[in-house]
Amino acid sequence: PPELEQTLALLSSHRSVLGYLLLSRGQPVSIIRHSGVVFEGEHGKKYATAIGRMIESVQGALEEVSGEVNEGDEIRFMRIRTKRHEIMISPDKRYLLAVLHDPTT
């Protein structure tokens, strides 16, 4: 659908964005779409597993902290600022959008 393409093109054309990853959550996360040099091929797959693991572990930690089974809290947005880049992860029940960008540009 063209709006989807447009939105994703807009996202990846931002000057500081290095690439994005659209994943579907599931026991092994699967890549729906990706863009950018960073997420090509094997490296992209590694990123995908890493991100999936991160989200699962943080969600698990949240659940631990909140105590009860009734989902007290859930991840809305995750922004990991590393020395070189920043990775922004926006999760959903079923899907995941991860964007890698360099904030210094």
């Binding site: 659908p1 989807l4 931002h14 500081s16 729906i32 779409r33 922004r79 079923r94 899907y95």
Partner: protein, 659 residues
């Protein structure tokens, strides 16, 4: 856990058995082939010795050992009924041994009998032709029966699963058996480990495979509506986060980075401009508004894109200061939207008035089509609706709209099917026509029943919504605010703020390049004869149509105007009444159509341009009024009034008494 692994082990064993059976069948076929070919036969002595060495410790195994002489092997073997599994020559002896020793493990019972081994020994050496036919017979007879016995015997022996291919003598054999007994547990563990490893690798492989979705799945996912919603939502969030340029891990102690600090007091700065290729191209902005609830949201309405006939004629876009690349929300309309306003009492509603006279209501929670529409009937408007305003309080509010045929309608928010009341403004005493073509109107602060309208002929009139003592509903034809020589494009009453009340002052701007300041006649004493009211002051600085004008919400003496040459003028009456304090050329070749100060403190203003761009400007500290501003403003106004309305400036400070 171990039970499961044991099951797995059994399954593996079964697999192994099958493999071995296949191998044995292959071997049998090979041996049959070989049997037909002449083979060297061993000497009797060798054979006997071999047999005894093997049979010695295994007396229990094969009570039929006497039968196992080569000579008697032929007839004797049938009773033994050993499974026949001739292995390859090098392995035959060992195979036999292993079968005996591994009797406990294999239910399939490869175990050949000593008879068979004997026969195999015969096979190993070149067989004299005379033995050959016997051999064949033996083999075929001895197949099924021994297996069962082997099985029973096997259980007692309890040897390990492994298939040892080493050639051994009887001692070694015993040793092997002992070793194997010891190794049973070790092997079991090893199998456990092996199985775990296998499952781990298999899982990894499964992961690898599932990682790449098939094309079909991809297409189905891409078409799912919740996926599209998810992408919309999350991409908006990510873009807002991307737009935040502050690097929060910046280290201020290291490095000499020069950060630009340009916050001057008197400067008017452009914060950003909103434009979207898809929605704003070839369109002009017709109205702008700030959101009362979310200070970062603003809305702009656009008219028709003449170049794209398939796109909707009217677009309303809600913009977020933090999301510069695309609108937060986009709403469609079938005809050009000429006026738009957020509902001050509902955070999600946006009203729009169109060229066709319809009033539309959009909800930010829904999609892009209007949630409610007024009917295109004579009950509502049938002419373009250029002005609308929401009046009232949270519990009792109305939307007042006006169109160019003089109709003023009042609507209830949830009942747009018909107006709550309509009012046709007719100028009864007019010498040419009674029609009042309203281009703009405004209510003074704190007033909900009397309002002032600006018309196409350049006059401003006061009108009442309802009958009241001394005045009837409709246009007040007696007070004509005459001054402009062209259509009045903007009218704004002074907001009621601060210690001094200037709310009877209003500003108008018009096509005749002027901005005029008026004092509204008091409603308490309605006039009964036609009177012409003149403006208090006229600002003639502009050299193009002045499209919009607005008082500042916080500072009593500041107002802004935008004109057709793309200039944004900021006036401060306490500072200078002839020229604007700051005149910014926003866009040199496009006009600015509309202007609105942000509601709270008036630091920012949005300007709508005729090329479809929405500019946001910040005036900084100029927005902050000092204590003295009100008194100064009083004096200024007094100066205006005292100096009459010929535009000649009289220094307000020279007049000792204000009004």
């Amino acid at each position: 856990m171990s039970a499961r692994l044991r099951d797995e082990i059994e399954a593996k064993r079964a697999k192994l058995q099958e493999m071995r059976q296949a191998r044995i069948i292959r071997q049998r076929q090979d041996s049959e082939r070989r049997a037909t070919t002449p083979v060297k036969s061993p000497t009797q002595a060798d054979i006997n010795a071999l047999l005894k060495s093997i049979l010695g410790p295994d007396d229990a195994l094969s009570p039929r050992s006497p039968d196992l002489t080569p000579a008697s092997s032929v007839p004797g073997t049938p009773s033994l009924g050993h499974p026949d599994l001739p292995g390859p020559s090098s392995l035959r002896v060992s195979g036999r041994v292993s079968r005996i020793s591994s009797a406990g493990s294999d239910r399939a019972g490869f175990g050949a009998t000593l008879v068979h081994s004997a026969t195999e020994n015969i096979l190993d050496r070149p067989i004299t032709p005379k033995f050959t036919p016997d051999f064949i017979d033996v083999q075929q007879e001895l197949f099924e029966l021994p297996q069962r016995e082997r099985v029973t015997y096997n259980k007692e022996i309890q040897t390990a699963d492994t298939d040892s291919d080493t050639e051994t003598t009887s001692d070694e054999e015993i040793r092997e058996i002992v070793f194997r007994e010891r190794e049973t547990t070790v092997d079991a563990e090893r199998t456990l480990e092996r199985l775990e490893e296998e499952s781990a690798t298999l899982d990894r492989e499964i992961e690898e495979e599932i990682r790449d979705l098939t094309e079909e799945e991809k297409i189905s996912i891409l078409a799912a509506p919740e996926f599209l919603d998810f992408v919309e939502q999350s991409s908006k969030i990510v873009q807002r986060a991307l737009n935040d340029n502050y690097d929060y891990i910046r280290d201020y102690t290291s490095g000499a980075e020069t950060g630009g600090d340009d916050s001057e007091g008197k400067r008017v700065k452009r914060i950003c401009s909103f434009w979207d290729e898809r929605y704003c191209k070839n369109r002009s902005i017709t109205d702008v508004d700030w959101s009362p609830k979310f200070p970062e949201l603003s809305v702009a309405s656009y008219n028709k894109n003449a170049a794209a006939v398939n796109e909707p004629d009217g677009i309303v876009a809600v913009w977020n200061l933090h999301l510069l690349e695309r609108p937060e929300f986009v709403f469609h309309s079938q005809s050009d939207v000429l006026s738009v306003t957020f509902s001050p009492f509902h955070a999600n509603l946006v009203f729009g008035g169109t060229y066709s006279g319809q009033i539309l209501l959009w909800d930010t929670r829904s999609k892009h089509l209007p949630v409610l529409k007024t009917p295109l009937s004579a009950a509502g408007h049938t002419h373009p609706v250029y002005a609308m305003q929401m009046v009232g309080t949270q519990n009792a509010h109305n939307l007042i709209t006006s169109s160019t045929d003089g109709m003023v309608c009042s609507w209830l928010v949830d009942m747009l099917a018909q107006p709550q009341e309509t009012l046709e403004l007719v100028h009864a005493g007019h010498n040419k026509t009674g029609e009042v073509a309203i281009t703009t109107f405004d209510f003074p602060d704190n007033e909900t029943t009397a309002f002032w309208v600006g018309t196409e002929e350049g006059n401003i009139y006061q009108a009442n919504r309802y009958d009241r003592a001394g005045a009837k509903a409709g246009l007040n034809q007696y007070d004509v605010y005459k001054g402009h020589s062209g259509p009045v494009l903007g009218l704004h009453f002074h907001p009621l703020i601060g210690p001094v009340d200037f709310s009877d002052l209003f500003l108008t701007c018009s096509v005749d390049w002027t901005v005029k300041l008026w004092r509204a006649r008091s409603l308490a004493k309605p006039s009964t004869t036609t009177q012409t009211v003149s403006s208090i002051y006229s600002f003639d600085e502009a050299d193009d149509y002045v499209y919009d004008i607005e008082w500042h919400p916080a500072h009593p003496a500041i107002f802004a105007s935008v004109d057709g040459s793309g200039k944004f003028d900021l006036w401060n009456l306490n500072a200078d009444t002839e020229v604007p304090v700051v005149s910014t050329s926003v866009s040199a070749d496009h006009a600015l159509n509309k202007l609105q100060w942000d509601r709270k403190d008036g630091r920012r203003a949005i300007l709508g341009g005729s090329e479809g761009r929405l500019y946001v400007y910040d005036i900084g500290d100029m927005a902050i009024p000092r204590e003295t501003e009100w008194n100064d403003m009083q004096k200024t106004v007094a100066g205006f009034v005292g100096g009459q309305t010929n535009g000649v400036e009289v220094d307000s400070r020279m007049l000792p008494n204000g009004r």
